[in-house]
Amino acid sequence: MPENDIISFRGTRQGILMSIKEDEPFGKVMDELKNRIDNELDFFGQSPISLDLGWREMDEYDIDELLYYLQQNGLKLLGIISTSLNTRKIAESRGLKVIIGRLGLAGHHGRKKPALQNKAIARPQARTSVPGINRPACETLFVRKTIRSGQVIEHPGNFVIMGDVNPGAEVRAGGDIVIVGALRGIAHAGRNPETKSASISAFRFQPTQIRIKDKIESRFDKSITKHKKPVVAILDNGKIKYTVY
């Protein structure tokens, strides 16, 4: 087993113990996992899997994504071993067994300064859960409710919101945002670093602030916000351009 493997496996009496390198970005881990499972599905058979996460911080989305993928391939996750309280809590809420600890099989070395900056942009920690919104496996998430002050919703794909986004609320999407209602709060589109451009459209466009990629705009021309017509804002050559319909 090479030292620099992102994921390493080990057979035990209780099933397979899977160790994941702690400081690798989660996206890379998932890619590797998919790769390994696709190639070596026979190796797994029916054995349940335990996961050694070390000090890796996982959020709900990460864990749900992982669970979803394992389930798709008919694999059962038994429990996790982790030193992170947060990760353990989330795992527990998903009905997993939880052990505090760190086996350090997958070329682990002590905690370096984690590349937080990238992660913070991709998946910030502060997040208010809005009831009734679950992330499906698909790219675009439909939300049939009004997002109210203090609520933050976030999705790595695109958003379609059938309702208003009120002042003080925030919508964050990896791709585009479409609001079938009024935008009065903050919308941030194109958070996924891989997207080149993104758009924010709303039936009524009176935002507090919009952000597309890293471009922030908080002052809008009255010709855009005053009337009650749909507006599409799109990033074009580093500038946000508005089209009124």
Partner: protein, 273 residues
């Protein structure tokens, strides 16, 4: 089985306590058996507004900690309305001396013996707020026609929805129609456009509120108070959501009577919404 209704707002000073006292009194006036609970533990106010301060022996914390025989011992009957009771809050304790589970139990007990249980929620969205809303069936969100209280109301509605409490009404307090006409104040339409919930009533700005609060006499007993009449109409709507029959203020001055004599019985003066 009675209904448990929490009166909340998020922002302080919008009129939750006065609203609770007056809706409670109006419901009693309609012949319902009502208990109003002051959930603002540590900042006791509702008893003052109702003029019952000197009768308090036991409070809500005593009931929950079982320091009195039953909740009945802590209930105070109103001076004027025989079917209105107050469960006062404690002035010396803090918000976390009551747990959400205990609050649910209390609401369930009271629900069996009263037609309406009104809970006066503390300002803020911390433990006191959570305790106040946890046992409720419906909520009335009080807001003033100004941006900060509307924003806080929006936040509170979001929190109520997160607790899966989706039955809510909006009450717009301190409305000044004159200012709205001059576009100096948010209109009811401006508010509902953002909040998107049904309005149960609009209470106009009325100096009588201040007078009656200081005296500890419910406003609803004053026939000529605009706010008092609005509260009575709100209470009617709580009893029957389809109620269309509204109480109106009739101007009984000499000229108004003369006009009625000639022009038929039309309602002059203000129409309380």
């Amino acid at each position: 089985m009675g209904k448990v209704i929490v009166i909340t707002s998020g922002k302080g000073g919008v009129g939750k306590t006065v609203t609770t006292a007056n809706i409670g009194a109006s419901l009693a006036l309609e012949g319902k058996k009502v208990v109003v609970i002051d959930a603002d533990i540590g900042l006791r106010n509702l008893d003052l507004v109702m003029g019952l301060e000197n009768r308090i022996v036991f409070d809500i914390v005593d009931v929950i900690e079982k320091k009195c025989r039953s909740y009945r011992q802590a209930l105070i009957r109103d001076k004027r309305f025989k079917s209105l009771f107050l469960l006062p809050s404690s002035q010396s304790r803090e918000k976390d001396s009551v747990s959400p589970n205990q609050m649910v139990d209390l609401c369930d007990t009271l629900r069996e013996h009263f037609d309406f249980v009104l809970i006066d929620c503390p300002a803020g969205i911390e433990q006191g707020f959570k305790n106040a809303i946890i046992g409720s069936d419906e909520s009335i969100i009080v807001t003033n026609p100004e941006v900060s209280s509307v924003r806080d109301a929006d936040r509170v509605i979001g929190l109520l929805e997160a607790e899966e409490k989706s039955e809510h009404w909006l009450l717009v307090n301190r409305m000044n129609d004159g200012l709205v006409k001059r576009k100096k104040m948010l209109s009811v339409e401006d508010i509902t456009e953002v909040l998107g919930i049904d309005v149960i009533g609009i209470v106009p700005e009325d100096e009588n509120v201040l007078f009656s609060t200081n005296k500890g006499i419910p406003l609803v007993l004053e026939k000529n108070s605009l706010a008092g009449v609005s509260y009575r109409n709100i209470a009617r709507k709580l009893i029957d959501p389809n109620c269309t029959q509204e109480i109106e203020i009739r101007d009984d001055g000499f000229w108004a009577k003369l006009k009625r004599l000639f022009l038929g019985d039309r309602s002059f003066g203000y129409k309380a919404r």
